[in-house]
């Protein structure tokens, strides 16, 4: 510790105990918190993925909606010169391909990136502290706790939500979506070679259309909760939320150790 610090570090204080016990804060994070009120969490590939993914999801929901329930018929030109549904599908497929590549990129970064880039992809189910803090977070959202705890990355409840909605939800949409794309691409295409088994397994692909459509609503529900909670916690919790996904830095509003 440099003597030039404006802080007076308390070596005997162990900050963010819960966050450490649930597997969230790393030793480096703690060192950082000792000397400044913020800690760097999300590296640029994670942030880039977040916003690219968000953009893709918005495009996919918009175009997907109008693929299932097309716009009113338009007769401004002969069919040859008109490509309304075609562009709608193009937008859907293009966004889906970008999202798929980005998702694989995100998985790659979970392997090579820092500790917090991995949180999306697993649940520490054997950690008793982690379960206890899920209960605590639920109580916080039920207004039964006066103030929330500090976390560097996701709090345990957020980690559960992220895992189910994003890791599983996105995987489900990517898998079913590519199977549907393979239908049009037909046997022999790359997508059909990779995803054709799903077409054969479900038999009637109308089922695939329906579950892919339900998946869209799953993602919409996630968006409602995610945006609400991010803004609410930005205001009401003891740490930054929205700006963290822009700058990558988590700022704490107070200097209490827990």
């Amino acid at each position: 510790m440099s003597d030039q610090s404006i802080h007076t570090p308390n070596r005997d204080v162990d900050p963010l105990r819960t966050s450490q016990l649930t597997g969230d804060a790393t030793a480096e994070d703690i060192e950082s918190i000792r000397v400044r009120t913020s800690v760097f969490v999300y590296e640029w590939p994670v942030r880039l993925w977040h916003w690219l993914n968000a953009l893709c999801i918005v495009v996919l929901i918009f175009t997907g909606w109008f693929i299932a329930s097309p716009l009113p018929s338009m007769n401004f030109a002969e069919a040859t010169y008109q490509f309304v549904m075609g562009y709608m599908r193009f937008g859907h497929f293009a966004a889906a391909q970008i999202m798929t590549v980005a998702f694989f990129g995100r998985i790659y970064w979970a392997i090579v990136g820092n500790h917090h880039s991995k949180q999306l992809f697993y649940l520490p189910l054997t950690n008793k502290e982690w379960w206890k803090e899920i209960a605590f977070e639920i109580r916080w959202y039920l207004f039964l706790e006066k103030e929330p705890k500090k976390y560097v990355g996701h709090n345990p409840l957020a980690q559960v939500a992220m895992f189910f909605f994003m890791t599983l939800g996105l995987s489900f949409m990517i898998i079913t979506g590519w199977a549907l794309y393979a239908e049009g691409a037909q046997a022999g295409s790359l997508s059909h070679n990779v995803m054709g088994w799903l077409i054969g397994w479900v038999g009637n692909t109308q089922i695939l259309h329906s579950v892919h459509h339900l998946g869209m609503w799953f993602i919409i529900i996630f968006m409602i909760i995610h945006i609400y909670v991010a803004i609410r916690e930005d205001i009401m919790s003891r740490q930054s939320m929205v700006s963290t996904m822009i700058s990558g830095t988590r700022t704490f509003k107070d200097d209490r150790p827990e």
């Binding site: 018929s73 008109q82 046997a187 109308q206 459509h213 339900l214 609503w217």
Partner: protein
């Protein structure tokens, strides 16, 4: 029953001379890229190889497969039945009835063990020991198992034999079961459709006779040459789909102009069949050409996929008649209302705390 005729004998009967027959064998050899030494071998095969015996059994069904089959034009059904195959048992088409018919079945099975093709129209109901479908005094499932035991291959004609069709629709009281779930030890070719296209049926048989092997099957066990592509991808109305021009109601101007039937619940995008290429009745028309959407009759469980007239269909899996949008809107509505209420309480709590803090300060 007489010995089954060879291809040569049948050709001679149809007025083809020995000279023409030898020419045909030479042509076949050159077409296959074989040398002149193969010509006698081909001729020998044609002279000695008996036509493939076919046993055609009928379970729970409506005979629309047979009706479709006898309308085959390329090749003509009569050529298939009288020249190409030896249709030894078919309740609908055979002259014999009663004990004679059943005797013919036994004789064919006995005589051509391991060499005949079993064609199944309809499916066996398994509930109540199969008593819902009786053939010759016995449950059909017994006849099916008996006939399949020594068959070379099994053809599942139509949606009934392939997937179960209407009699297997929920709740399926007779427990009507597709053939491949009863016969598990034989190669099975599914030729689904309600009924299948006549040319597809005769085409499958012709392929098996010509090449003496099963046609290439897709993942669901259907001949890839007929079921490899969706109706939607070969539909002549596809340009209207891409343009976003749809029939909005059955009697509107768009319907008269022949726009896409997607919004009317057409199942073309999820149906694999040859209707939009081969068409029906010697290529005269097919459902979409006649102004009605595809109902997806050649797909697994097409009766249980909600309305024929909805694009986003009801999800009966949820035990209620609601589609994905209705379920999604309800769920998102509940979550949205919950979020709004939560936000309101959060704001009130925060305000309350602020007042308390002020009081404490004072």
């Amino acid at each position: 029953m007489s010995q089954i005729e060879t291809f040569y004998e049948v050709m001679r009967k149809q007025g083809i001379t020995r000279r023409s027959f030898m020419k045909y064998c030479s042509l076949t050899a050159s077409a296959l890229g074989l040398g002149p030494s193969f010509v006698p071998q081909i001729a020998h095969a044609m002279e000695t190889k008996p036509r493939t015996p076919v046993i055609w059994v009928n379970g729970l069904e409506c005979t629309c497969c047979s009706e479709s089959f006898i309308r085959g034009a390329h090749p003509l059904a009569k050529d298939v039945v009288l020249s190409m195959i030896s249709l030894d048992y078919s309740e609908t088409l055979m002259a014999a009835a009663g004990h004679h018919a059943e005797a013919a079945l036994e004789e064919t099975i006995e005589k051509y063990k391991g060499n005949y093709i079993l064609a199944v129209e309809g499916n066996p109901p398994l509930n109540e020991d199969g008593m819902f479908c009786i053939v010759g005094g016995k449950p059909f499932v017994e006849q099916l198992k008996h006939a399949a035991k020594h068959a070379k291959a099994v053809i599942s004609w139509g949606a009934c034999a392939s997937y179960g069709c209407v009699q297997a629709a929920k709740p399926n009281p007779t427990q009507a079961t597709p053939v491949h779930k009863v016969i598990t030890d034989k190669p099975i070719i599914k030729v689904p459709g309600c009924p299948p296209i006549a040319e597809v049926m005769t085409g499958v048989i012709t392929y098996m006779l010509t090449f003496d092997r099963l046609p290439e099957l897709d993942r669901q066990g259907r001949p890839a040459m007929f079921y490899g592509q969706r109706i939607h991808d070969k539909c002549y109305r596809r340009p209207h789909f891409d343009a976003g021009q749809f029939v909005e109601t059955w009697d509107d101007e768009n319907a008269r102009k022949g726009y896409c039937l997607y919004k009317m619940g057409c199942k073309g995008p999820t149906t694999y069949n040859a209707c939009s290429t081969v068409r029906w009745n010697e290529g005269v028309s097919f459902p979409i050409q006649s102004g009605h959407g595809c109902i997806g009759c050649s797909e697994d469980g097409f009766w249980d996929q909600g309305s024929f007239y909805d694009r986003v269909t009801d999800l009966t899996q949820f035990g209620i008649e609601k589609n994905a949008d209705q379920i999604g809107t309800a769920a998102a509505g509940v979550v949205g209302a919950g979020v709004a209420a939560h936000a309101a309480i959060s704001a009130l709590k925060a305000a309350q705390r602020k007042t308390q803090d002020k009081k404490e300060e004072a």
